[in-house]
């Protein structure tokens, strides 16, 4: 028992050392980046070579961006939730950095999901925006992301900021399923399902493979950018510390 605990601890804390993390990140990032380019390239090729959908025509291509972006938007919040737990439970120094780094990426993907959804909705449903359950809950998710980013920018003191961000992220993550559920409820009461009839006649492999490839590509892209942002944040904090020591020395001298 005690052995496993020690083992776990070492494995978690191995990465707590920023220098070691930077080393690992430096080594991994090029590989991740390469894999991202490969996957997205392959996905785009497969997507463009796919035949046109008999109902949706060429607009089905939007799906290859829209769906992976939405998936990654949700994955990003899961990463942030795990980071929040990391901050609160273990006070892991990198967890806060990870949370901060993930928030803008998640917001960007959420926005991309909404944007491509709107562009797809215009030819398909005849309107850019419907108050559909999914769209609405995604809009709320975007607002939550933006709130977290605003909070991250507002609090200057790093440890307070880390705890506040973690708590808000956790409360948000508990609340998101409730929001989803309530919006579903709201939607079914207000308008009969006009949109969901369009959804999912079992997808053909011709569309499924490029979609999955793109999903993997987008996830890899997320992790690449996430690691890069974390690296930047660590370096920024180092510069900040160096500046502060320099200022202190200048004061003394």
């Amino acid at each position: 028992m005690s052995e496993t605990i020690i083992k776990q601890n070492t494995s978690i804390w191995d990465y707590a050392n920023p220098t070691r993390f930077l080393g690992i990140a430096d080594r991994i990032i090029p590989w991740l980046g390469g894999a991202t380019i490969l996957c997205i390239g392959l996905g785009l090729y497969l997507g463009f070579s796919a035949p046109e959908d008999y109902q949706q025509g060429s607009t089905v291509l939007i799906m290859f961006i829209h769906v992976p972006a939405s998936w990654v938007a949700m994955m990003s919040y899961s990463v942030m939730t795990m980071s929040a737990i990391g901050t609160l439970v273990w006070r892991h120094p990198l967890a806060d950095i990870s949370l901060r780094a993930a928030a803008p990426i998640g917001a960007a993907f959420t926005f991309l999901g909404l944007l491509t959804g709107a562009l797809w909705g215009k030819p398909m449903w005849g309107t850019y925006w419907v108050w559909d359950a999914r769209l609405t809950s995604f809009l709320v998710l975007l607002i939550i992301y933006l709130g977290i980013i605003a909070l991250a920018k507002a609090i200057e003191e790093p440890t307070t900021a880390a705890r506040s961000l973690a708590i808000i992220t956790l409360v948000g993550s508990i609340n998101i399923p409730i929001i989803k559920f309530s919006v579903d409820w709201w939607n079914t009461l207000h308008q009969p399902a006009s949109v969901s009839r369009l959804a999912k006649p079992a997808m053909d492999a011709v569309f499924l493979y490029p979609l999955l490839t793109m999903a993997v590509g987008f996830s890899l892209f997320f992790f690449t950018v996430h690691l890069m942002k974390m690296r930047n944040e660590i370096l920024k904090r180092r510069i900040r510390t160096m500046k502060m020591t320099a200022a202190r020395q200048a004061e003394r001298g």
Binding site: I143, T160, S164, I168, I174, I178, S182, W185, L189
Partner: protein
């Protein structure tokens, strides 16, 4: 705890007339709506519950930033937190007192506004009931936001941005329950019960989270 509750009540009714400001803000929102929508009484009656709920939601956000800020500035928050009572209980009592001082007047003001909006007596009663049950949840979610933004000089706006999306379910179930009471085919009890559940849930979660944040921010 009782003493704290009365102290909070007294303070919030003294300082800047918080009680009255909230109700006045509520009144202005409700009064501005018809100017934007038009004086069609039938339409107003139909969207009345929604207008009242939106107004109450915004009005109850108004005073939230003062929940902990003033006491943090004069240091009494630290003294309260140093006592043996768990911080979650402390937050619970403070938030509840805040609701009694700021949320309850909104509920009591509903009949007047309901008449302005040409709502039926049943609709007014249902609105009062759902608001009485639902607005505490807003206060408890807001307590987390207030605790997080307590150290910020102008945290009020940020607090609203953080809290508003999280209150979406409360708004939805509140208005749905009223519609259920007024229109026949839609059910009243299920959304109302869910609203009660949400309030109970957030009174626990919000108190715990806010208490934790406050405790951390003092050391």
């Amino acid at each position: 705890m009782k003493a704290l509750f009365w102290r909070e009540l007294k303070l919030s009714s003294q300082v800047g007339g918080g009680m009255l400001t909230g109700v006045l803000f509520f009144l202005t929102i409700v009064a501005v709506m018809p100017f934007a929508i038009g004086p069609d009484l039938k339409l107003l009656a139909r969207i009345g519950p929604a207008v009242l709920w939106t107004g109450a939601l915004l009005a109850s956000l108004l005073g939230l930033d003062r929940l902990f800020q003033q006491e943090r500035e004069d240091g009494s928050l630290d003294i309260l937190l140093m006592q043996e009572t768990p911080p979650a209980l402390l937050v619970f009592v403070k938030a509840f007192a805040h609701w009694v001082a700021n949320g309850l007047p909104l509920v009591l003001a509903v009949p007047i506004f309901g008449i302005i909006l040409n709502m039926s007596p049943i609709g007014i009663g249902a609105t009062m009931l759902t608001l009485a049950v639902g607005t505490p949840a807003i206060t408890f979610i807001g307590a987390v936001g207030a605790a997080v933004t307590v150290s910020l000089p102008r945290g009020g706006l940020l607090l609203s941005i953080l809290v508003l999306p999280l209150t979406v379910p409360i708004l939805i179930f509140g208005v749905t329950a009223i519609n259920g009471a007024v229109e026949d085919p839609a059910p009243f009890l299920p959304p109302f019960m869910i609203l009660c559940a949400l309030t109970l849930f957030f009174s626990a979660l919000g108190s715990l989270a806010a208490g934790w944040v406050l405790k951390q921010s003092t050391d």
